[in-house]
């Protein structure tokens, strides 16, 4: 590509020159440098930690949440899944701050355990992979709730969790790379549209 991508450090260096040259900018070199450090720090601290203590969910519920996230967006041949992308931490954080989410997800996880206990004699997490797949195949589609209204709360819960899992995944480094988004960087010139494939 004719266009040259320049690093964040480069643009901030350019900035510093601009400010020194007496522009009206309110950015000064020191603050620009501080900004870079702040960003680097945040990038480091945002990497998924090994031992996460849930803020809202009980340990058992959080384990179920991990299992569900992993089934909603698993690892495949191209990229990692929702768990390594930090989706469960994201969901737990937002749920800890929002009582509507607590009802929908906290309550939803109880509903799931209740359903699994009724049908398999054990909670979701203890079900076999086949049983887990069976129940998800039911609650992942609205049409199943039309045939069996007793599933409707489960369908609603799963739809909400699926959206949040996607939110967590596709805002992660892994998910963004999976989609092939390129950008959020400094360009000297916008290149326009590459040639359209025939």
């Amino acid at each position: 590509m004719a266009n040259e991508s320049i690093s964040r450090r480069d643009i901030l260096r350019t900035l510093a020159v601009g400010a020194a040259a007496g522009s009206v900018l309110r950015v000064i070199p020191a603050e620009a440098a501080e900004y870079v450090h702040q960003m680097v720090h945040k990038e480091k601290s945002a990497s998924p930690a090994g031992n996460y203590t849930p803020k809202y969910f009980s340990a058992a519920q959080y384990a179920a949440l991990l299992a569900l996230c992993d089934m909603i967006i698993p690892k495949d041949e191209k990229s990692g899944g929702a768990v390594e992308a930090g989706a469960p931490e994201f969901i737990d954080l937002l749920t800890s701050e929002n009582d509507k989410f607590q009802l929908r997800l906290g309550g939803g996880l109880f509903w799931l355990d209740g359903y699994c206990t009724d049908h398999y004699g054990k909670v979701f997490l203890e079900c076999t992979p086949e049983q887990k797949k069976e129940v998800l195949d039911l609650i992942a589609f609205r049409k199943n709730a039309k045939q069996d209204p007793s599933l409707s709360q489960g369908v609603s819960f799963f739809a909400f969790l699926r959206n949040m899992t996607c939110d967590g995944y596709y805002t992660s480094k892994t998910g963004i790379a999976d989609l092939g988004y390129i950008g959020n960087t400094s360009l000297r010139e916008f290149p326009g549209c590459p040639p359209l494939p025939e």
């Binding site: 643009i11 900035l15 522009s23 009206v24 990038e43 992660s172 092939g180």
Partner: protein, 568 residues
């Protein structure tokens, strides 16, 4: 006036509000030699810390959704601060049957820190509305009166665009436009087939360095605020030169409560709440420029009634303060475009906003509704964010590897369209003081009345039909479903939602039916000016910010002139 020796607290002009209108006034007035004090109801802004430029969603634990997921309602966690539909402790109310939504930014620079940077001139015919079709009123000024000020504003703030000679969208002083994105080329092709004008957009973003500001670096995130000030904000572009004169005193966290007048009906001071110390303070000035945002300014005038001279509010002898409120007509839709599935990954960011748009193109024929609208559009391979796959999930459901594969396939293949049209002022749409409610500072709050008429509904209908035609001409599938029924027919947005609320202290030739004269000067109080969206007589299909700045610049030059003549 500027020669007079003052006590430290004596100012020539008190400017209330630091956004587009207040910022323009501060620049022009201080550079003209007047000593100004500016009251801003929010805190100062620190772009280098407050603006989330280049931040990836994963750099925040909330991923852009904000605490509890609530920032999503206010355009996301990464939007430049502090815009919100609801401000804790500072409510507003809607009358029964009305749903008006009011987006406010309490911070230096106001909404210009995050705005869409769409900088469109009103057209000559927009100033002659009543003459044109009998609806509403004509302005007391013409396009030719304002054109030199559009020139000044554009030259100073920097606007890209192209000369097109479209009668509904006058050309201005333009920087070169950025190259179109793939999505824009595809839409343009369909528009050409349909006879819809599609041209480079006009945004207040620098494609070349001017006035010491760096050109755009094409990260596509203008709404987050720009640390390099490569797009326009009042805080970074108008206020620094005003500060440099040494004649601007900025007082933050200062919520104006009332404008005080002397026995002759001249404005003398502003009473405000210092939010930091939670105390009442007062500042004296020889002239007052109110630029608090259209509705906030109306609120301040209506609440300024302790003088027996103005029992119904300051400058409100006509009774029209708060009346003639309008917002833009808005209706949105989107389509899916299978041909985009084949696009290779590439940097699609560009500037923060559309590189092309459709100005009103049916000005040469009879339509089902008065006036017109323009179309904004965007989509394609944008930075992924919260909510991006909600629609896919609703449609396709399921889970697992197939969900990932579908997300990969559809990513970048959607284009959204937004119609923005002209609302005709109507008697059922206005704001007034709520008799029962005060905010946490004890200031009576606004109560809104809002109603769309058939004019606007027919416009929204036309928008939906046009979006569908464009999408289908492109070989895409139009996904938005609207109907004539329900609360919001044809997808028309609730009043206020487009954040183009204007008209609440309109200018006019007749003091009996207007608040201000053609220089934004109150008919009833000669040293009082209003320079935000409130003076606008009509709300054409051009986003109002550029016109607010041009009007404020013109009013400020007039104020300077009057001050020199000793008339104020």
């Amino acid at each position: 006036m500027s020669q007079v020796i003052r006590s430290p607290k004596q100012h020539d002009v008190c400017i209330i509000g630091s956004g587009a209108g207040g910022g323009a006034a501060a620049k022009v007035l201080t550079e003209g030699g007047l000593n100004c004090v500016m009251l801003e109801a929010g805190p100062d802004v620190h772009p280098e810390k407050d603006f989330k430029m280049f931040m990836w969603p994963y750099e925040s634990p909330h991923r852009g959704a904000g605490v509890g997921g609530h920032a999503h309602e206010n355009f996301g966690e990464f939007l430049a601060p502090n815009g919100a539909w609801h401000i804790e402790g500072e409510p507003y109310t809607s009358a029964p049957g009305s749903d008006f939504q009011w987006f406010r930014s309490r911070i230096v620079g106001g909404r210009t820190n995050h705005w869409g940077r769409i900088a469109l001139r009103f057209a000559p015919i927009d100033f002659k509305s009543k003459t044109r079709d009998g609806l509403g009123d004509d302005w007391p000024i013409t396009y030719d009166d304002l054109a030199p000020y559009y020139d000044k504003v554009e030259s100073y703030i920097g606007v890209f665009g192209t000369k097109e000679n479209v009668p509904s969208a006058p050309d201005g002083v333009f920087l070169p436009p950025p190259k179109p994105r793939c999505t824009e080329l595809a839409v343009k092709k369909a528009c050409d087939k349909l006879g819809i004008i599609c041209i480079p957009s006009r945004l207040a973003i620098l494609t070349k360095s001017i006035n010491g500001r760096l050109p755009c670096h094409y990260c596509g995130q203008c709404g987050r605020g720009c640390i390099t000030a490569s797009n326009f904000s009042s805080s970074q572009v108008f206020l620094p030169p005003a500060m440099k004169t040494g004649k601007l005193t900025l007082i933050t966290n200062a919520m104006a409560r009332e404008i005080l007048v002397d026995k002759d009906g001249k404005a003398t001071a502003v009473s405000y709440i210092d939010k930091t110390t939670r105390s009442e303070k007062r500042i004296n000035a020889r002239a007052i420029v109110v630029a608090a945002s259209a509705c906030e300014s109306a609120r301040l005038l209506l609440n300024s009634k302790s003088s027996s001279l103005f029992p119904t509010g300051l400058a409100n002898a006509s009774g029209t303060v708060g009346k003639y409120l309008t917002d833009s007509v808005g209706s949105n839709g989107y389509g899916y475009f299978p041909q985009l599935e084949k696009m290779p990954p590439h940097n699609h960011d560009g500037v923060g906003g559309m590189h092309m748009y459709m100005p009103w193109w049916k000005f040469d024929r009879k339509n089902d509704f008065p006036r017109g609208y323009h179309i904004e559009f965007g989509g394609g391979r944008e930075m992924p964010g919260v909510g991006m796959f909600n629609a896919l999930n609703r449609e396709e459901e399921g889970y697992g590897v197939s969900l990932k594969q579908r997300a990969r396939k559809v990513y970048g293949c959607h284009i959204g369209f937004a119609g923005r049209g002209e609302m005709i002022p109507n008697p059922d749409t206005y704001c007034e003081i709520d008799p029962d409610v005060v905010d946490q500072w004890g200031i009576p709050v606004l109560r809104f009345h809002f109603k769309w008429s058939d004019y606007e509904l027919l416009q929204a209908k036309d928008m939906q039909e046009t979006f569908k035609a464009i999408v289908e001409t492109m070989g895409g599938e139009y996904k938005t479903r609207t109907s004539i029924h329900g609360e919001l027919p044809f997808g028309i947005e609730p009043g206020g939602r487009i954040i183009h609320e204007v008209g609440t202290a309109r200018m006019g030739a007749d003091p009996k039916t207007s608040v201000l004269n053609g220089f934004c000067q109150a008919h009833d109080v000669k040293n009082l000016f209003v320079t935000d969206g409130a003076p606008l007589v009509t709300n054409p299909d051009k986003n109002p910010t550029l016109t607010i700045m041009a009007l404020s610049w013109r009013a400020s030059e007039y104020l300077l002139d009057e001050a020199r003549k000793g008339n104020i």
